[in-house]
Structure formats: C-alpha cells, structure tokens
Amino acid sequence: MDPFIKSVLSQAMLGLNNGAFYALLSLGLAVIFGLLNIVNFAHGAFYMLGAFLALIGLTQFGGWIGMPELSIGFWWALLLSPLLVGLFGIVIERTMLKRLAGLDHLYGLLLTFGVALVLQGFFGNFYNMAGTPYPGIPPSLRGVVDLGFMYFPKYRLFALLFSLAVCFVTWYAIERTKLGALLRASTENPKLVEAFGVNVPLLVTLTYGFGCALAGLAGVMAAPIYSVSPLMGSEIIIVVFAVVVIGGMGSILGAIVTGLGLGLIEGVVKVLYPPAASLVVFVIMAIVLMVRPSGLFGRE
C-alpha cells in the first residue's frame, strides 16, 4: 500500500478513536441540554472523575481500607465508576441544579462551571497535574491487531467499538423506545407530560445522572490511553463544546455523528498539515456558525 495512504488511514483510525470519546461526551451533553436546558460545564470534570475513580480503584482504594492486595480492575471500573459518577450527578441535580429550574440558562452554566472548578481543584491538590498513567489494561486487551494498513492497539480498538456500541444503544433507547418517547416529549413540553401523570422531576434527575455517567464511562475508557490528570477534563471539554456547537445543541444523532466525524477530520489533518490539527475543529465551528448557526443537525 502507498505509505501516504497508509499513514492517512492510521491517523484516521486514531482520530476515530478520539472521536468516539467526543461522541460519548457530546451525547451526554445533548441529552442533558435537551431535558434540563442546562449547558453542563461540569461534564469534563465528570469525565476526569470517571478516570480518577478507575485509577484510585486500581492503585489506592485497597490500601485505604486496609486491604492492600485488593485492586479494582478495569472491567469492574468500567461498571462502577460510571455508576458512581452518575450518582454524584444525581446528588448535584437534587441538591443544587433543581433549585435553578425556571431561571435563565446562565445560572445552570455558572453552577456547573463552579462544580467543575471544585472537582478539578480537589484532584489537583492530591494528584500530579502532569498526569498519572493508568497501568490496568486487562491482559486480554493488550497487544495489537493487524488491520492490514497498520497495527492498531487492541485496547484502542476495544474503546472505539465499545463507545460506538454505547452511543448506538443510547440513540436507540431515545429514538425507538417508550422511555425514549417520554424523554423526547418531556424535552418538548415537560409540564404537559407531567400533566399526563409522569413523574417528570424524577425523569429529569435520572437523565442528568445518565448523562454524567456517560462522561464517567468515557473517562474510564480514556484512562489507559491518555494519562489521568486533573486537567484532562477541561482539555477535552473545549473540543467537545465545539463539537456540540457544530452538531447542534440537543440533537442525539447529531452529537454522535459530529463527534466521530470531527475526530476523524482531526486525525486526517494531522497527516496533511500537522500544525492545523488542533485548530481545524474550531475553524469548522466558525464556518458552521456563520452558515448554519443552529448547527448541522440542529432545529432551525
């Protein structure tokens, strides 16, 4: 194979891998924005929290409870940390966000921004800002797979496919099931859905928890790839917000497709003109804002 095409393809794969994380994160943001009308600035922090919970479970938790030989491995972390992050989100929603219902968007944005700063500051106090590697890739996911044009780390392939599966299941649940219909209807007119006898406040809380759990899940999957650092959330969330602006706020499919697409574009640009790789997303955002301010998939 032509070496140039080869390198484009390999960067495209790595880009898709990043894109899968963008997709998971912007999907959570879109679900939350749809129902709560809140731009969840704490989303990056929840992603970081998910990664740290995995790291702590693997390397520290056993020691804390006096059982140093206990180590919570990757698979358990994949299940438990999103649950814990989701629960944390639920507590935040019930104790704080709920009180802002009906007020201007800006208050929710400020509050969640505050939550993000607190979490980031908290972990910054105890952990290396430059990052700590997560040494817990399970043996079955170590090594590489031959894709024909490149050797791709098995773990990355797993992270990509698993994220895609989670995105698909979420999309399906929202667009094709009864519960999803309730969610879509509540997004349009929560008061009326409540007047039909649905406990909408509970639905709102669970939705927020679910969106946060998706961020936590992305965090766990990112931990073995990037190093776990207090700043990892605020770094990725800037790109994710750009993704959300490009895709259109509140569109589920838009969040997924745009996340993957932009990861891919970022990867390919890295081969064509490396200095532009980290810029290209924002250039696209600027163009989309000029041409279609409500985003590619947004409702006008």
């Binding site: 009864k178 219909a181 309730l182 879509r184 209807a185 997004t187 349009e188 007119n189 008061k191 009326l192 859905v193 409540e194 007047a195 039909f196 006898g197 649905v198 406990n199 909408v200 406040p201």
Partner: protein
C-alpha cells in the same frame, strides 16, 4: 359544610391562582358530578384556561381547595393529581412534534385498567389510524385536536378537562367533535369543557358555569338556558 354528594368527581372551592405576581383567579367555586358534561363559559382572558391549569397544579401558585373523587389535591404535585384519573387536553393541543401519531397516542401512562383500548380509539378516530406513522408535526389542526383528545382516553382517566377543542376548526370537524363528546358522555366520562363556541356547547352540556375576571358569575343548568339566553349573550359578548 354539607356532606358532599357521593357522586361528586370534582370540587373546587375558593380557588385562587397566580402567575408570578399576577393574581388571576379570585376564588373559583364549582362542583362536577359523575357523568356530567359541564362547560366553563366566559370572555377571552376571563380565567377559564387558568382554572383548568390550577386544578392540575400547572400555575405558579394556587390556594383554596380542590378535590378529585373526594381526594384533596391542592398540595400534590401535578403528576400525582393526574394519576387520580384526570385527562387534560390543553388549549394549544400539545401534540409532540418529535413523536409519531402512535407514539403520541401511547405516551400518557395508563392510570387505571378501564381505559379505552387502542382498537376502540382507532374506531372512534379512523383518520388517526391512517396517519398513525406520521410525525406529530405533520397533522392538520383537526387531526391534532382528535389526537389530543384520543390520547387521554386510553389511560383510564375518568375526568376529562378539555380546553377550547373547537377553536379554529372547520364546521364539519366541530360537528364530529360534538359526536365524540356525546359518545364519551355515554361511556360515562365526566367532562369539563372550556368553550368559546356556545352553539357547540349548549346542546352537549348539563350545566354551564360563567366565569368573569377569575370568579364564577353564574351557574346555569341546561334546562334554564332558554330563560337565561339574553343574559348569557350579554355576559359573553365582547
């Protein structure tokens, strides 16, 4: 206080309602019995929609007393009030644009087991069957109105609060809606109908409440309509 009649479905007394600082209802009193069709008549802005909303707790604040089937509901959240057996058809119809007709129809959760079956509903509203796969946003006004009524019949709600169902619809459709109301009455539903169209409401209803500036001005039973026609015209004229 007098012992309430055993067949009392809805009692509202001294109901006050507020949107923010605006005080909209100033002590509404009304009672509806099982199987009745009762209208709330009044001029634009008199507070009829607000009365329905206040019953369901959809206003910013309310005081007074409301009971449904004997249960006081003033301190309950909206969804719990609905679950006692109330079906609400809002003035703006509230069809969910992102849902198909059938999804709209199946959306309200079942409250009690004795609601109409989907087959019975499609029989009563044949054009909804034809359009069941269409997106809610694609319906005509009449179809939207039919859907808004149809979807609260499946749930087992026995008290229906219907707000201006004839507004802006062609005479044939208004006539069909009159037929629907009659059938629902025959099935034993209790119906509160907010209406602007007196000609539509007059033959259907057992009693009429006249609302003016957030108060009940008068209650006129069906058989006294003729006697009160002139006064009513004066009360309802702009």
């Amino acid at each position: 206080m007098l012992e309430p009649r055993a067949d009392e479905i809805l009692r509202v007394s001294d109901l006050h309602a507020f949107y923010g600082e605006s005080h909209i209802l100033h002590g509404i009193d009304l009672t509806v019995y099982r199987g009745e069709v009762v209208t709330l008549l009044g001029r634009n802005g008199s507070g009829r929609t607000t009365t329905l909303k206040a019953i369901l707790g959809l206003v910013d604040r309310r005081t007074g007393y409301v009971s449904i089937n004997g249960r006081p509901v003033i301190s309950l959240p909206t969804y719990q009030i609905a679950r006692i057996g109330v079906g609400y058809c809002p003035e703006e119809r509230g069809i969910f644009a992102s849902l198909t007709v059938e999804e709209n129809l199946l959306l309200p959760p079942t409250l009690r087991s004795d609601g109409m079956s989907l087959a019975e509903i499609y029989e009563m509203f044949p054009n909804l069957w034809e359009r069941r796969k269409s997106q809610g946003s694609k319906l005509s006004g009449g179809e939207q109105q039919m859907l808004a009524i149809a979807r609260i019949l499946r749930t087992g709600a026995y008290l229906l609060l219907l707000d201006e169902i004839t507004e802006g619809l062609a005479p044939v459709i208004v006539q069909a809606l009159g037929e629907v109301i009659r059938k629902l009455k025959d099935r034993g539903y209790t119906i509160v109908l907010v209406e602007q169209n007196f000609h539509f409401a007059a033959p259907l209803a057992d009693r009429h409440y006249v609302i003016e500036r957030g108060r009940v001005l008068d209650m006129i039973p069906h058989h006294e309509l003729e006697k009160n026609r002139e006064r009513l015209n004066a009360l309802l004229s702009v």
